[in-house]
Subunit: 245 residues, 2 copies
């Protein structure tokens, strides 16, 4: 038996999230079907985590076991013709029996992309959150600094998820402006609750457009008052960038 | 009667080109339907020119006449909810009776985008030509300089198009590398033959990867030998950027 780890990127626009499901097409199904065809046996994968409908990935990681003898170094090329163009396997590695894409993950990095524009951009509509009013990025950074360290993130967790502990440790929470004038929020942590990044970005944008102060943002975090968090930022701006093992 | 000029951008991925047709959906049909609903009467538009299936536009121009009293300054906002997200009307102007988006055009600018990458990028697959081997952009520029001026562009024109004259005047033919390391070719001329830009880019890429020399490129242009031109570059990398009147 061989144990493989694949790193994949996908445009989440046309899928109902990562997870395999009965009445809609998840990315997992497409990937498992392609791997099963390539390996000549039924393949079941474990992912580092799910992504919601419309969420993208540059560095999602999956693991699986196989009896196939397809050489590891041929996988990325061989699977290309079995996958649609919006799902790309760009790295394949052999790992030990104990590796599990979900449970071996020690850190994840997400990015969230925002564009400030009066006119909607047809090329960006599925790849960033388009907002009309400019945002005070300095205030958003002051608020975001409160995320660093270990906190109970209940305030930013959507209901309906089973949580063992709502505590997570955040090591990076950084706003940047790209050369294309996109606002990009990078957040790294040892794990994230359900919808946590999108809820954080939604609240940070409220700071950026002056609806709440950085101090109120801190109060939301500390008092765990989900009422004040507001709506999560739309899925299309979110990218799973990297999983560290 | 009022005469209107609209400037529109669109992601051409999901359409069978600009032109209205019987058995597939062209962008023209979507735009005419939206305008007809907004104006409360049947609207027929004239475009600066057609774009092929998969070709994009940042500055396509259309014109039409209407009896509607919808204020010109409200059109871009009012039509937004009548159009899908991949077609955006971003400018509306009142023009004189003699304005015709096709026949009044004096100059057009196209861009063609190329990405050099080993690994396909799921976010760029519909928006640039992905090539694996690096290209000699200096040689491509030397070859492209031969396009400047007035020439018979028969060598770069696909068959099947009705041409009154195959002569066109090119004023800009410039390769650039963006901060994202995309290779962008900008070409401006008083008009373009059918598939001319894609055929030119296809031949310039042959120069860039050493299959032909800049001098051979010039010979193709001068001898009008379409055999040597090779395949047109794929549609997804092409953008109609601007039409000057």
């Amino acid at each position: 038996m061989r144990y493989l780890k694949l790193t994949i990127s996908y445009d989440g626009t046309n899928y109902n999230g990562f997870q395999r499901q009965k009445n809609a097409i998840g990315i997992q199904q497409i990937v498992e079907d392609a791997l099963s065809e390539l390996m000549g046996e039924d393949i079941k994968v474990v992912a580092s985590g799910r992504t919601d409908t419309g969420v993208h990935a540059c560095g999602q990681v999956i693991s699986f076991e196989t009896r196939s003898t397809v050489p590891t170094e041929h996988i990325t090329t061989a699977i290309r013709h079995l996958l649609p163009g919006d799902i790309v396997v760009w790295k394949a590695e052999e790992v030990g029996e104990n590796f599990n894409a979900r449970y071996s993950a020690v850190e994840k990095t997400y990015q969230y992309r925002i564009i400030i524009t009066d006119i909607s951009n047809p090329f960006k509509r599925n790849y960033a959150w388009e907002l009309k009013k400019s945002l005070d990025i300095e205030k958003m950074q002051i608020a975001a600094n409160n995320l660093l360290g270990t906190h109970d993130f209940t305030a930013f967790c959507n209901k309906g998820s089973k949580i063992i502990s709502p505590e997570r440790t955040i090591t990076v929470a950084q706003w940047q402006i790209t050369t294309d004038k996109e606002l990009v929020f990078t957040i790294t942590g040892d794990g994230f609750l359900y919808r946590m990044v999108r809820n954080i970005v939604g609240a940070l944008v409220k700071v950026g457009n002056g609806k709440i102060t950085p101090d109120t943002f801190l109060q939301i975090l500390l008092t765990k008052d989900r009422q004040l968090t507001g709506m999560p930022a739309p899925a299309c701006g979110l990218y799973l960038m990297h999983v560290r093992y």
